[in-house]
Point group: C2
Chain length 335, copies 2
DNA sequence: TTTTAATGTGGAATCGATTCCACATAGCTT
DNA sequence: AAGCTATGTGGAATCGATTCCACATTAAAA
């Protein structure tokens, strides 16, 4: 591999001068510049970025830790991050935990070893061990999707989205609303969306049937199973024996639920209305099209990258910006 | 940031010795090892990977160039690559072209600048300029999804998959089959899948209606529009005025086509049978579930990584392994 | 007891860039 | 003519690791 030294010798100048033409800095006469450029051209020389990093202490790499890339949310966020950082000559080093929570901490260390200039963490939890680790890392880091004390974050307004969505159901006359949630260790998806739902119901003084509030895991089949479970609970509390509406905390859960209901001959939205969260592409094309909440994931990625750059440039590491992105209700025929 | 020099001083040994305990190489007495480890522990020292790279000439990074990460195909492949390479202590540097073909070449240079040990290219085309560039790069590279002379590749057996799928339609009694393809500069998806279809039709001596062979772009709406176009061509050649079956080269195109047909009151599969390619998750849950071709994308990513490692270890850069992965027909109710 | 081998440690060069200085030359001001 | 300033170039240190080699010491073999 040809190095700056080779170029210097071939062009009969010093490495200093080659570096100058490379970086367009300092004084270089037109003659010399031409000569050096010619040699670079001929040899196809490409300077080593990490040798440069060693000197400049900047890798121009942002580490991205994510639970899986196989969801639209993640891939949109990554796209957003990529768009923003590539404008600054940065690249993404990918750290995919494949839903293995312990790996989050492992990858933090690994990214430190790689000396990334900053980290964006698409978070699924806010376990104390993780939060602790982040704080002692001393590398600019922005968390997406979850928030924690003393950590910069870009989050979605899950609480208000859930409230507004619930309100919309209520306005359409629904009172017997079932809820398919997920584990509350996921503060954003599990806890806040549920709290939004419950608070809005309470604000309208509507009793909720506890048996219709179920917990699923993050996949379509689980939505199917959970819907079956809900419909098996004949309404001991409610006057009706079945809900007239269902809110699922993700689109996939909603899709699973719809599938179960269709199989049972339940019509949507005539018999049961339903909505999800996430605005995944397919929701537009379902039959009926699914009402959902769009979180502008790509923007979230961009915004996180912007926040990260702010922090990276800041002399101080103090202060923790937290931005909460707004959402958009996408009302479709399923409601 | 604490360096190996600091550790050496604090532990009152040389950098050489610290390096030895770090890499578990050479002789180090138990006393000294303990002392050094203690200092490392106390300071939280993490060696700089790129300083190491400078010396060892190995970055332990694989660059992945892809057209978009927002398809299941890409994200599955990336997952597969990640699984395989992380076992060897490698990481992924992501280069997302966002469907901008020119950026493929740009990114090749950028990855060279980053001195990645190898590159995996999820390819959409085999333009001469690209192929040329790859060859002059002199970095181990494996292409996924497309193949070209002199370049290592992992491809899907698009041709035979298309033939077998077509055969299945024919066996079910279909002769008037429409085909929704894409541009043939995409050799794999555009050209081979179409050729497989045509050859199988020819093998059964079935005439194809040229007007029912249409070209779309890669999204759901395009599938919708193209289906509309096909159905607007009343059969001047065929004895029927409409096809009894449709093969779409991607699941998304199939979904779009289904949506159009449903809107027209066409029943699937009673009036028109349909199939796609890709086995995207949602196809299982569509109504009716969609017949499709599963290409084991994650395995493809793993295999590409394995091929890449073989090449990276090989002393020679000669020979170009090409592996063709097999496929699996997923027969569902839409056919 | 002398050789030889195994064990243990450090000095210094090296990887490929950047950057601080020192120094040289030329053209302008006073 | 002397002093400045702008321009142009290179030497050498530096970034943080690895690794070759030299050199001790100790233990085992002859």
């Amino acid at each position: 591999m040809v190095t700056i030294k080779n170029i210097a010798e071939m062009a009969k100048v010093s490495r200093t001068t080659v570096s100058r033409v490379l970086n367009n800095s300092g004084y270089v006469s037109e003659d010399v510049r031409k000569r050096v450029e010619k040699v670079i051209e001929e040899t196809g020389y490409i300077p080593s970025h990490y040798a440069k990093s060693l000197r400049t202490k900047k890798t121009k790499i942002v580490g991205v830790i994510l639970p899986t890339i196989q969801t639209e949310t993640s891939s949109r966020i990554v796209t957003g991050i990529g768009k923003e950082i590539s404008q600054h000559g940065y690249e993404i080093l990918l750290a995919n935990t494949n839903l293995n929570q312990e790996k989050e901490i492992e990858y933090l260390e690994l990214l430190k070893e790689r000396r990334v200039d900053g980290i964006i963490l698409i978070a699924t939890n806010t376990e104390p061990a993780l939060v602790e680790k982040i704080k002692e890392m001393n590398i600019p880091l922005v968390m997406i999707g979850q928030e924690a004390n003393g950590i910069m974050s870009v989050t979605f307004d899950d609480y208000h989205a859930a409230r507004e969505l619930t309100r919309t159901f209520i306005k359409k006359g629904h009172e017997d609303i079932a809820f398919i949630g997920v584990d509350e260790t996921d503060r954003a998806v599990g806890y806040r969306r549920k709290k939004g739902f419950l608070d809005e119901m309470a604000a309208h003084e509507i009793n909720v049937n506890e048996e219709w509030i179920q917990k699923a895991i993050f996949d379509i089949d689980s939505g199917y199973d959970t819907m079956e479970k809900i419909l098996s609970k004949t309404g001991a509390i409610s006057k009706r024996s079945a809900p007239t509406a269902v809110i699922a905390v993700t689109d996939r859960l909603a899709i699973g639920a719809i599938n179960y209901m269709k199989k049972q001959g339940i019509r949507i939205p005539e018999d049961v209305a339903i909505a999800g969260f996430g605005a995944s592409e397919i929701t537009r094309y379902l039959d009926p099209p699914l009402t959902t909440v769009d979180y502008h994931n790509e923007k979230a990625g961009e915004e996180a990258a912007r926040q990260l750059f702010n922090r990276m440039q800041a002399q101080t590491q103090e202060g923790t910006e937290k931005v909460v992105l707004n959402y958009r209700l996408v009302l479709r025929k399923s409601l």
